[in-house]
C-alpha cells in the first residue's frame, strides 16, 4: 500500500506550480504524493488506492495518450478528416472518468476520448465521426456516454435536463443514487447556454458535476478573453460550490470528482470543478498554435506533465519497475495498432444511407428523395461512370 508512504497533509493551495488562489493537488509534478488536502471549507480530499490501482491509473494515462497519438498520425496520413487531441489533459480525463460510478451518465464535448476509454467503451467508437463515416452513431444510454457535442457548451443543458430526470425518477438521496458529469472547456464558460445550465442546476438542485477542463485556450483565445475571475469562483454566483484542481494531477482529479459526484447522488446538488490544465497540442488538427502562443509557455507546462509525475511516484515508491513501464508501453502500442487497423478497415457508408434516421417515423418527402437518388444513380450503371 502506498497510502501510508505519503502521509503529509496540507491545506489547499497546491505547490509552487499553482495559479494564484491555489488548487487541490495530491501529486506534485515531481511525483510526491500529498496524503490529503483540506480546502477552506473544511473538506478533506484524499485517495485510497491499492498499489494495483495506482498502476492502473498509470496504464490508463499512457494508453489514452498513445491512442491519441495514433489518431493524430492517422489524421496526418489522411485517414481522419479531423482529430481533436487530448494531449496534456489525460489526468483530468482519466481521473474524472475513473471517478464515475457505473450508473453515472457523462455528457462529453468532442475531446473526451480519455473519459470514453475509462467508461470501458471501445476506443474506436468516436472514429466514425472523425473519419467522416458517420456523425457518431452510438447509443448514449447504452454506454452512459452521450454523443460528442460539437457546438460549444450545448451539452451542459442536456446534462442538466438528464440530471433533473434523475431527481424526478427518485434516483438521488442514497449512496447508490445516480449522478451526471458535464464536460466543457474554458471557452464554453462564456456561452449563454452554459450559464443557463448553471442557473438551472442550481435552482433544481440537479445531481451533477460541471467538469471544466480549463486548458487555457479556446482555439487561439487565452483565458483572459473569457473571464475576469478564476472560473471555479463563478459557481458561487449560481449558489453551489466551485473548486479548482490541478488538472494535471490524476489523483486530485479522481478524488475531487468522486466526492462531488457522491455529493450529487446523495442529493446535495451540483458542483463546478475547474481542472487547471493545458492543451499541449493544437485545438484540432486544423489549428496552428504557433500563431498565438510562445514555445516557452508550452515548455513550462511540459514540466507539469500528467504522466511523468505518476511514473516518478511509482518509481519513488517502488510500486513499479522498468519491466512494468515497458509492458504498459507495449500493450498501449498494440492497442494503438489494433485501433489503426480497424480505423483503416472502416467501410465508407453507402451514400443512400444518408437518408436514414432523419425521423423516427420517417417522412414521405425523404422517402421520395431517397427513391429518386437511387434511381438517378442506377441510371449510370453500365455507362462507365
Amino acid at each position: 500500500m502506498a497510502k501510508g508512504k505519503a502521509a503529509a497533509t496540507r491545506p489547499s493551495g497546491g505547490g509552487s506550480d499553482a495559479p494564484a488562489g491555489g488548487f487541490v493537488q495530491l501529486l506534485t509534478p515531481d511525483g510526491d504524493h500529498v496524503g490529503s488536502v483540506t480546502t477552506a471549507d473544511g473538506t478533506t480530499y484524499s485517495v485510497d488506492f491499492t498499489d494495483e490501482e495506482y498502476r492502473g491509473l498509470y496504464r490508463d494515462l499512457v494508453t489514452v495518450r498513445r491512442l491519441d497519438a495514433e489518431a493524430t498520425a492517422l489524421q496526418r496520413q489522411g485517414e481522419l478528416g479531423l482529430w481533436a487531441s487530448l494531449l496534456g489533459q489525460e489526468a483530468a480525463q482519466v481521473g474524472s472518468g475513473r471517478a464515475l460510478r457505473t450508473q453515472d451518465m457523462a455528457f462529453p464535448t468532442y475531446r473526451e476520448h480519455g473519459v470514453l476509454y475509462c467508461r470501458g467503451i471501445d476506443p474506436i467508437m468516436p472514429f466514425g465521426l472523425f473519419r467522416g463515416v458517420d456523425q457518431g452513431g452510438w447509443d448514449a444510454n447504452e454506454h452512459k456516454f452521450n454523443s460528442y457535442t460539437i457546438v460549444i457548451g450545448s451539452q451542459t443543458l442536456h446534462a442538466t435536463g438528464y440530471a433533473m430526470g434523475i431527481t424526478m425518477d427518485g434516483k438521488t438521496g442514497s449512496a447508490d443514487g445516480e449522478a451526471v458529469i458535464a464536460y466543457f472547456g474554458d471557452g464554453a464558460t462564456s456561452q449563454g447556454e452554459v450559464n443557463e445550465s448553471f442557473v438551472w442546476a442550481g435552482v433544481f438542485n440537479a445531481p451533477m458535476v460541471f467538469f471544466c477542463q480549463n486548458n487555457q485556450y479556446a482555439i487561439s483565445e487565452p483565458l483572459e478573453r473569457q473571464t475576469r475571475i478564476p472560473l471555479y469562483r463563478r459557481a458561487l454566483g449560481y449558489g453551489f460550490p466551485g473548486i479548482r484542481i490541478d488538472g494535471n494531477d490524476v489523483l486530485a482529479s479522481y478524488a475531487v470528482t468522486r466526492a462531488a459526484l457522491d455529493n450529487a447522488r446523495n442529493g446535495q446538488g451540483p458542483t463546478l470543478i475547474e481542472a487547471y490544465t493545458y492543451r499541449m497540442g493544437a485545438h484540432t488538427s486544423s489549428d496552428d498554435p504557433t500563431r498565438y502562443r510562445i514555445a516557452s509557455e508550452v515548455e513550462s507546462w511540459k514540466a507539469k506533465d500528467p504522466i511523468s509525475r505518476v511514473r516518478a511516484f511509482l518509481t519513488k515508491q517502488q510500486l513499479a519497475d522498468d519491466d512494468f513501464f515497458g509492458e504498459v508501453d507495449e500493450s498501449a502500442r498494440k492497442l494503438a495498432l489494433d485501433l489503426r487497423e480497424r480505423v483503416l478497415a472502416m467501410p465508407d457508408p453507402q451514400p443512400v444511407t444518408m437518408f436514414d434516421h432523419v425521423y423516427p417515423n420517417g417522412s414521405p418527402e425523404i422517402d421520395e428523395q431517397r427513391a429518386a437518388f437511387t434511381e438517378y444513380h442506377a441510371s449510370f450503371e453500365g455507362s462507365g461512370h
Partner: protein, 328 residues
Amino acid sequence: MAETITLGKALNHGLRRALENDPKVVVMGEDVGKLGGVFRITDGLQKDFGENRVIDTPLAEAGIVGTAVGLAIRGYRPVCEIQFDGFVFPAYNQIVAQVAKMFYRSKGKVRVPIVIRIPFGGGIGAVEHHSESPEAYFAHTPGLKVVTCSNPADAYTMIQQAIASDDPVVFFEPKRRYWEKGEVDLEAPLTGAYPLHSARVARPGTDATILAYGPMVRVALDAAAAAAEDGRNLEVIDLRTLSPVDFPAIFESVKRTGRAVVVHEAPGNLGMGAELAAKITEECFYSLEAPVLRVTGYDIPYPAARSEEEYLPDLDRLLDAVDRSFGW
C-alpha cells in the same frame, strides 16, 4: 360526447389527457405552472399533476429546450412552451442544432420526442416580438416536424398526437384563435383519429384551391363564403402539417381546380408559399390555368400594432388574389 369549447381550452384538455395517459409526459416553460401560462393553456395542470410534471422553469428559452433534450434522453416526453413566437430565438440553437439532429447523429439510437409549443401570428394588438410567424425557419430544418392547428377539434387531437409521436414536433398555435369556439369530442380515441401529418379539406370546392394554415384558415373560409356569393366555388385546404407538407392532397386539389392561392401571415420571401408554389408548379404544370399566387405578410419586420391590420392578409386581399388568378 361533444362539447363546445375554445381552441385554448381544447389544447388544455389535450395536454391534460396526455399527462394522464403517459407518466413520462412533462410540461415545462415560463409561467406554465401556478399561473397556467400567459394564455392559460396549461391552466390547472400543475395543481392536478404536481410540480414535477408541470414545471415552472427559469426564464431562459435555450434552457427550456436544452434541458428538455436531456430529459428526453432520460426517457421523458417533454412538452415545452415558448411564451411567444418572437421569444423562440434564444432556443433556436438547441432546436435546430440539437433537437433536430440527435436522432440522425445517433444513427437512430437516441430519440428526443419533444414537443415545442409556440403561440404564433399577429392580430392581437401586441408589442414587438409577440406577433411573428417563424414557421418557415423550422420547416426548413430537417429532423423537425412542424404542425399547426386552426380549430378546437384539431387542437385537441393534434397536440396529443404530437406528444405521442417520437418525432420532435414544433407545434404552432394560432394565438388570435385561442378564443374561438368549436365542437370537440373529448372522449374520442387517438387511435383511428385523422392523421397528424395530413392536410384536410376545410371546404370543398371546384374553381380554385386556397391553401391556408393556422390563423389564416378562418380568413380563407370567410373569403370562400364571400366568393360563393359571386358564384365562385373555392376549395379551402387547411395544411395542418408544414413539415412534411401533405403534397398529395394539395396536388389532387389543384389538378382538379387548376388554380391555387397560398395565404400566410409570415413574410412571403422564402416562406411556405414559395415552396408550395414551386412544388405545385413542378407537379401540376399542365393543370394550371394561372400561376400559383401568394397572399402573405410583407417582407418587413412585423409592424407596430396600429398598422397590423394593413400588414396581415385579410379577406379582401385574398379575394383580390383570387380575382387575379381568374383574370390570368
